[in-house]
Symmetry: C3
Subunit: 139 residues, 3 copies
């Protein structure tokens, strides 16, 4: 069994947004030399998400609006977590809705994806550098 | 390390619904010959979900009603994604709530499940053939 | 390839709440002797969740309040699932929002975590003993 580990560094310029990281993960997979196995991708932070969906800007707008209605950023005083001096309780909630990680099949040296599957980094408390972990095991 | 890959094909007759695919995944596991490892199951489409819960029709009704309140299909014009000519933005949202994939432990040649755990394919934009990927790695 | 399996037993005294199980998972990892691989942690029950987030009591309060607004326990008659004699339909829904399982990278014999990542068991229908499965594969 082989394993490979890589950290990606991302810095979203806004508080919230989505970045397509599919090519970065594919690059890590090529570097690994692994042809058959599983690939885990997860943020190392707890107010961000890695998920798989469509690379369509209208949909990303819909996700953002819908998440903001579901767990609004303001008023920040509505969340007990923000009593600690933080203002990001909503980001911790949004990340749970969108999920932490994805596990992707590796087949014949590639990410084993359907036509429209793309991997996104979603940050709900951006404007800082954050790390995403890629861990691949297989042969 | 061994690996095994299988595609299941599903065709939900309605726009939304749930299909128990546990036996299909167990069949793939038997074919793999793998006794210890991990089994990934995910739709290869981005408006469908694979998740683990109860095989109880009342609960499935509750999930459907609750998801429809959370992200209603209509009016379709409320979603920017639908400006592209699609009408399935709600399905992309519902799939994120229910999750994309499951990873299941394989122990002693079987799916290592508690009493009530069953694997479901949930489609939120059905009435077409879709593929579900089963990827198993182990020994 | 090596694999290791362990069941944790948890008993939440209240209907709903969160327990930090990071140390229990780290203990299982040490017992496994595995240095590089993947670690799956999931409840073997369908009204509970394993997820990764912050060990901060205010945030846990926020999660609980937010989930209760999203899928209220009462009136229990609002859910078709509860016609079966159960009163836990809301718990099946809350578990889907928070997710079933986590997959964690194992690197150099440890859980490959960012600074604030901690593993939680969340129960939404507690006051009974439940099992959490830890399955580790690697080398």
């Amino acid at each position: 069994m082989k394993s490979y580990r890589k950290e990606l560094t991302l810095n979203l310029p806004a508080r919230r947004g989505f970045i397509n990281i599919t090519q970065l993960v594919e690059e890590a997979l090529r570097e690994s030399g692994i042809r058959e196995g599983l690939c885990l991708v997860n943020p190392m932070h707890i107010t961000a998400s890695v998920f798989i969906n469509d690379d369509e800007s209208g949909l990303h707008h819909d996700y953002d609006q819908w998440l903001e209605r579901l767990a609004p950023h303001e008023p920040t005083s509505q969340y007990r977590h923000n009593d600690t001096g933080e203002d990001n309780a909503d980001a911790h909630i949004k990340r749970q809705v969108m999920g932490r990680e994805v596990v992707v099949a590796v087949t014949n040296g590639g990410l084993d994806f359907g036509t429209w599957e793309q991997i996104f980094y979603g940050d709900f408390d951006g404007r800082r550098r954050k790390r995403v972990l890629v861990k691949i095991i297989g042969e």
